[in-house]
Amino acid sequence: MSMASKDLWRFLCAAAAIFLLAAALNFTVDPLQLFRPARLFPAMYSADSRMQDAGLIRSQDFDTVFMGTSLAVHFRQSDIDKALGVRSLKLAMNGSTSREQAFVLGAAMDRHPKRVIWQMDDWIFRNAPEVDSDVYVPADLYRRNAKGIAGYLFSGAMARESLWIAARAIPPLEPIVARLTNGLMFKFPISRVDDINALRSDFDLAGFYNAQNAVASFKRITDSARSVSIAEGYDLDAMVRNFERDAVALIERNPDVTFEIYFAPYSILHFVAMRDASPATLKVAHEFAAYAFPLLLQFPNVRLHDFRGVKDVTHDLGNYGDVIHHSPAIDLKILSWLAERKYLVDRAAPLVSLERLKAQVEAYKVDP
């Protein structure tokens, strides 16, 4: 063998050795706890729910799954457990589509939960592409197929996290590593499951959730230069198709699971913005609810709550950081309403709450 050939082999062997070493490190530390619960190394969690959920579904014990978008992402599991007397797992994902939610819920169904609490709205059914064309969801990791596992083990980004978590397990290094772990440089900065995406204790609640911010947001989205975005994706036929594919099919497939679905208490300004800047969009939103509510209530395993017309909350703009996102105080109210089964939509009259909302939206006058 010539010297150049020997060098070529040396080079390839060195690359292969490092490659395998990274995989071994990822397998041993297992940042997502896909293979085993964390024992040798401290459990750390990421705020990237789309990735983290794949591990949580495997590593956590739960009988209730909590799903939703950014409106549900700040809930604390401990609050859910306390209010409803369950052992919950929060899988909510910021800006998630119905396809993403149904896919993640489908993976969670393999662990046989008794109940799903699902924060739903018309927004999630607008553009909901297949998860395999969605770059943000590591679909094969949820499927646990060879591609997904290989992608996890042979990932340099994951190896960096593994190394960091391993360094944190070494007592002399622990304080300094913990100090440097801030989410800016590392994706697994959270040490308690309950803290995943929950607002930090030092978060300025009054500074963020106030009427001024809600009104400013209303003005921003109804500004003529931007208002076209309100209508984005609101195509009733497509929304109905996505609803049937993602929500109805999942409920049908799991008759033993109770689906507690709630439509979140958006601020009234959300609907008023549609009314004033894009009436056709408001019509689609109402028509969607008029189609979805009766269909959902055909299933005996569905309980449907409509919080959109809870005037005490939705008309008090101090509860909101913009036109839709409510404060943690409302999170707790929602849990209490779910526990008390308040604002349940009547199977015999599924459109009463919708009519109430329509009347409120029509009557609402925006302060100049």
């Binding site: 060098d7 040396r10 060195a14 690359a15 770059v135 340099g156 800016l184």
Partner: protein, 478 residues
């Protein structure tokens, strides 16, 4: 298909290499055909619907070239044939790349309601320019007659097809014709792999690593002074490591086939002037614009004023080549102005004594870098309003906003700057000499070789480990 994908590295490349060398045992032509077909397969992954257009373009240009080279046409007819050839290429490029831009501007001016939505075929700017150069050289009588498979491979050759380097037929086709390139050379394969590894590392670890910081300036929220600078500097380094990484990978892949590609980058941020910058950044495009646009326009042969006019025209069209948008036109115009100032300074500016040469170089590097960074704002911004908004934030230190997050990001940017300014570039590390067709002479020195091999092996491993889903190269969209 992306160079930075597992399917390319572990499947496509090994299969094409094995087929190439296996066929090379019995024939000098079969490997060329094999490589051209493999290149078409590679191209079809980026959009199979554009393969017929590519084939049509090859057929058209080869036929025009044949008329110019093989037929004894009178000079008027030759010029007409050239005009038809170049116009044909430009019309196709114009339809696919600029029709939407043109319609959009008509709409803005006259509210015509005329909308054109045409998908841009991948690599069209690169293969059009390559072939225009071929036609012009054929007209000038600088081209020998090439066989169709060699010509087709010259255009489609997959290492360069999508994003360059822009190849020259005189450089490439003779290499395709040489029987020696069809025999595997372990030294060239090793050097090619190392260069590929460096390029892959630049892309997956450096460019993709800093990419999230770009949103600091170009994200949905209005940036502060610090965020605007961090975002723009992050883009400055992202673009460099992304594109030079791609070029390194192209050179490395080609070297495994025994083919030397021209260099495209030579540490551009170390440039001491804008003229120097354009000798170091996207070098094959600069050479193309110089040989086929600036010089035919008259270059510097018709007086100083016309020289500046020619420079401006060249850079404006160079900007428009990158994309059909006013932001690219402004980017080109800015560089045109920079070049004019640079040339005017060389002609009329102060002459510093030699003892200040080092200081002048440092000042020149800093000023050039700053000018380039400002121009990148237009290159990156989705529209003029965003570009002006980001620039206005960069110019207003009133709202600095330099918190803990910004400090960490600034540290990142500083590390990238140190690599771009002080580290040796790929050809310096590997001793790559395109002109003399030599590479890796240092590898023959035994002392450091094992360490170097292990280190570069690690670079390859880190490059592959850093592969993320769907991380395209920035220059694919041009």
């Amino acid at each position: 298909m992306l160079f930075n994908s597992h399917s390319f590295i572990f499947l496509f490349l090994p299969v094409v290499l094995l087929g190439y060398f296996a066929l090379g045992r019995s024939s000098n032509l079969a490997p060329v055909v094999w490589l051209a077909l493999a290149s078409l397969v590679f191209y079809s992954f980026g959009g199979w619907q554009f393969v017929p257009l590519l084939l049509l373009s090859i057929g058209f240009n080869y036929a025009v070239g044949y008329l110019l080279i093989a037929r004894k046409l009178p000079s008027g007819a030759r010029f007409a044939v050239l005009t038809i050839g170049v116009a044909g290429d430009l019309v196709v490029l114009g339809i696919f790349k600029y029709a939407g831009f043109f319609a959009g501007n008509l709409n803005a001016l006259f509210s015509t309601g005329f909308v054109v939505n045409i998908v841009l075929p991948v690599g069209i700017s690169f293969y059009t320019f390559t072939q225009i150069a071929f036609l012009v050289d054929a007209y000038r009588g600088n081209v020998a007659r090439y066989a169709l498979p060699h010509y087709a491979l010259f255009v489609t050759y997959f290492p360069h097809l999508i994003a360059g380097p822009i190849l020259h037929h005189k450089d490439m086709i003779p290499q395709f014709e040489r029987p020696e390139t069809k025999r595997p050379d372990p030294h060239l394969i090793l050097c090619g792999l190392i260069i590929f590894a460096i390029g892959l590392f630049k892309k997956t670890c450096l460019a993709d690593g800093i990419q999230p910081l770009v949103a600091q300036a170009f994200g949905p929220d209005a940036p502060t002074f610090a965020q605007a600078w961090i975002g723009v500097l992050a883009y400055t380094f992202q673009l460099y490591f992304d594109f030079s990484g791609y070029s390194d990978m192209a050179i490395g892949i080609s070297l495994m086939f025994g083919i030397f590609l021209p260099l495209n980058f030579n540490s551009p941020y170390k440039a001491v002037s804008i003229v120097d910058f354009w000798r170091r950044w996207h070098m094959t495009l600069s050479q193309f614009l110089r040989d086929y646009l600036y010089i035919p326009l008259g270059g510097n042969r018709r007086g100083r004023v016309l020289r500046y006019v020619n420079l401006m025209i060249t850079m404006l069209l160079g900007g428009l080549w990158h994309g059909a948008a006013w932001t690219f036109v402004v980017w080109g115009a800015l560089h045109g102005v920079y070049l004019c100032i640079n040339h005017a300074w060389s002609n009329y500016g102060l002459r510093l004594p030699p003892r200040f040469a080092r200081v002048a170089d440092v000042a020149g590097t800093a000023l050039t870098f700053l000018a380039v960074v400002v121009a990148w704002v237009f290159f990156r911004a989705p529209d003029m309003a965003t570009a002006l908004s980001v620039l206005s934030k960069m110019a207003r230190p009133g709202n600095v906003g330099f918190g803990r997050v910004e400090m960490v990001y600034a540290l990142f940017v500083a590390i990238y700057a140190a690599i771009a300014w002080f580290a040796p570039n790929t050809q310096e590390i590997m001793g790559y000499d395109h002109e003399n067709r030599t590479v890796g002479a240092g590898l023959r020195a035994p002392r450091m070789r094992p360490l170097f091999l292990y280190a570069t092996g690690a670079v390859l491993a880190f490059g592959i480990l850093g592969i993320q889903q769907h991380s395209e190269f920035i220059y694919f969209r041009f």
